[in-house]
Symmetry: C2
DNA sequence: ACTATCCGCTAAATCGGTTTAGTATGCTCT
DNA sequence: AGAGCATACTAAACCGATTTAGCGGATAGT
């Protein structure tokens, strides 16, 4: 029954085997795998191998086009050089910009990343971090997504978490953002302002609203309940902003300034205002938030509070890699604050009937 | 950097320090790794293991929160359940929409994917497929990117390749697309049309232009060289369309219809036209291409030829998975054609001075 | 002459699973 | 009693790398 080592069967060798392995390369050279590996990785342990042999090894590797299998390497080294990125929705301008920043830095440093989008489905939000960790990611970046538990690798959140242990938060200076917008509107003479709040599930909604109220108080602006609406629904189309702006208009309450939760809803708002016969910016000034790519190319071009999204992605990636390479119990930043800026374009103008009143 | 309050609470109930391995689980149960593995994977070979033992194993796995390491599993099985997606640029509406479709299908089927973007840098276009294959991807999807060689896994291209062996192309029916646009403009009475061609590096540029010429011929439309401009530069902002439209205007040649290479450039074109005092659509009708998300929310809303981008992503993923699971030498589709549709919005209207002429 | 080091490598363990072949035991059947 | 078979598992090879310990011979130092 010992037919195992009785020589290679006539045709049993699997022909379309994968590309060159370390073993075949070593055999080809008549050396051990260890020697080849040491040389190829320029390990300090290879110092005792003469230059001539090293050259031979490297040349053969090049000729046979040897490329080490990362799976095997990762398994052995317990380093996958892979991280996981969790976003609500890929095709949204917000996430795409952050991802673009993340990618830039990650690929530069030799890391790859998995992307998953959960579309706000809570079972996916729970499951994905686990699945990613099964795939041995060394860290996670969560964009606008709050995990409650189950994360055992370094985690960096871009506008998401609050006070969860183990998380580094990249957050916008929200009070500064709110001040920028409201000061701008106030300076233009606006006194009656309407507001579009974010959806309940968005992690930015609450903080931002608090900041808006804070800034309003400082500036002596009164916020009227009937001039505050909230986005609803999971889609990310301007339609949402369009709908709630109609509500605003239907309330009959006068307003000349509108501060939207994001650019997408601001775009819908402009649409609704225009349909109602209110010109932007002559009758109503609209300020958006985020500065997504198409904000600049709206008509009128949108005045907006810019979040440095790409930069936030870069910072998230940098911070994560630092945490990954740091010793296990090293301290890490709980919070990194980035600054917004106001981009004034054409959707805001002096309030009607207020020529330089202020 | 900020320190957290006073570190973790002393009760330190660490849920699971190092995640449980198959070995520790087997030891805990007093069984061999083989038995545990067979049961957990519901392998047919587990049929001789009594139900009671199986229950015990599964219960222990659940209690200890055992999750098999995918790296190890992939290495042994030679199946990584991972694919690679190569795009020119993540933060572009086009790629993001395709990716969203890809993701949908892939994650449903238990696959994960790596994303890389090359920003048209040729050394990256060469290197990435290799790096991805080192990471044992089972297949590749290339979006608007042409690889010349070095791909040994199934490859599906979304609007990219031509006639490269081993590639499945997902392509738009370009001649239909061109006909839709030109018939629409012709029906509105337009006779003098301008065209914005795509950048040299975009794989769609050539085919699309051929289709446009074909459709123009069929419709008896003459294409004037001075009314044809080409996008230049790697950015993907409307700025590009804005610039070339200025050229068009500077040529002095009369035109009432403009067919742009994509929505982004159409948006820039509208801007330029308007600045030159030409109203859209009263003076000039503009047709875009792609139907990216913000096309609908431009002012005026953009009439455009819609590519079913999300669906193309889904088809790409489906096709790739089929190819991956098919036997090595099975035939595979060389080309899958998807149909465009015309989305008529507000940027096109009857040609000036042509009341129902046709 | 004897130990110490250096040189140029190799053997073998290891990462964490999957999978094949096999073994010990008990039972049935002739 | 012995063959045949099912049951309930286990041992060990294997995937493709990395990495540590060590070996045999040459040279150097004392």
């Amino acid at each position: 029954m010992l037919r195992s080592k009785s020589g290679p069967a006539p045709h049993a060798r699997k022909p379309a085997r994968q590309s060159v392995s370390l073993r075949s390369l070593a055999e080809h050279l008549g050396l051990s795998q260890a020697a080849v590996s040491l040389v190829i990785n320029r390990s300090p342990a290879a110092k005792s191998i003469p230059q001539r042999t090293q050259d031979l090894i490297r040349q053969a590797a090049r000729e046979l086009n040897y490329r080490p299998n990362q799976l095997a390497r990762s398994l052995r080294q317990q380093r996958s050089y892979t991280i996981g990125v969790v976003v609500p929705e890929i095709s949204e301008g917000y996430a795409a910009l952050v991802m673009s920043g993340i990618e830039d830095h990650l690929l530069e440093e030799g890391y790859f990343y998995f992307v998953v989008s959960h579309r706000h489905r809570s079972e996916l939000i729970e499951e994905y971090p686990l699945l990613l960790q099964q795939r041995a990611v060394e860290g996670l970046i969560a964009v606008d997504t709050a995990f409650t538990e189950g994360v055992q690798v370094p985690l960096v959140a871009v506008s998401g978490h609050r006070d969860v242990p183990g998380v580094t938060n990249i957050v916008l200076n929200h009070s500064q953002a709110a001040s920028l917008a409201l000061e701008h509107l106030t300076a233009l003479g606006h006194r009656n302002m309407a507001f579009i709040k974010g959806q309940e599930f968005s992690s930015d909604t609450a903080v931002r609203w608090d900041s808006v109220r804070g800034a309003a108080e400082v500036l002596g602006i009164q916020i009227k309940d009937r001039l505050v609406v909230q986005l609803e629904g999971e889609s990310s189309s301007p339609e949402l902003g369009y709908q709630v702006t109609k509500k605003l208009l239907a309330s009959g309450e006068l307003f000349t300034g509108l501060f939207a939760f994001n650019d997408i809803s601001a775009i819908g708002a402009v649409q609704a205002l225009r349909e109602a016969g209110r010109r932007v910016p002559q009758d109503v000034s609209v300020v958006g938030f985020d500065d997504i790519q198409s904000a600049a190319f709206q008509n009128p071009a949108l005045t907006t509070v810019r979040q440095p999204l790409r930069e936030m992605g870069v910072i998230a990636a940098e911070t994560l890699l630092q945490r990954i390479t740091a010793p296990p119990n090293a301290p890490y930043p709980k919070e990194i604050i980035v600054e917004p800026s106001l981009v004034v374009r054409a959707s805001t103008a002096t309030a009607p009937g207020s020529s330089r009143v202020s």
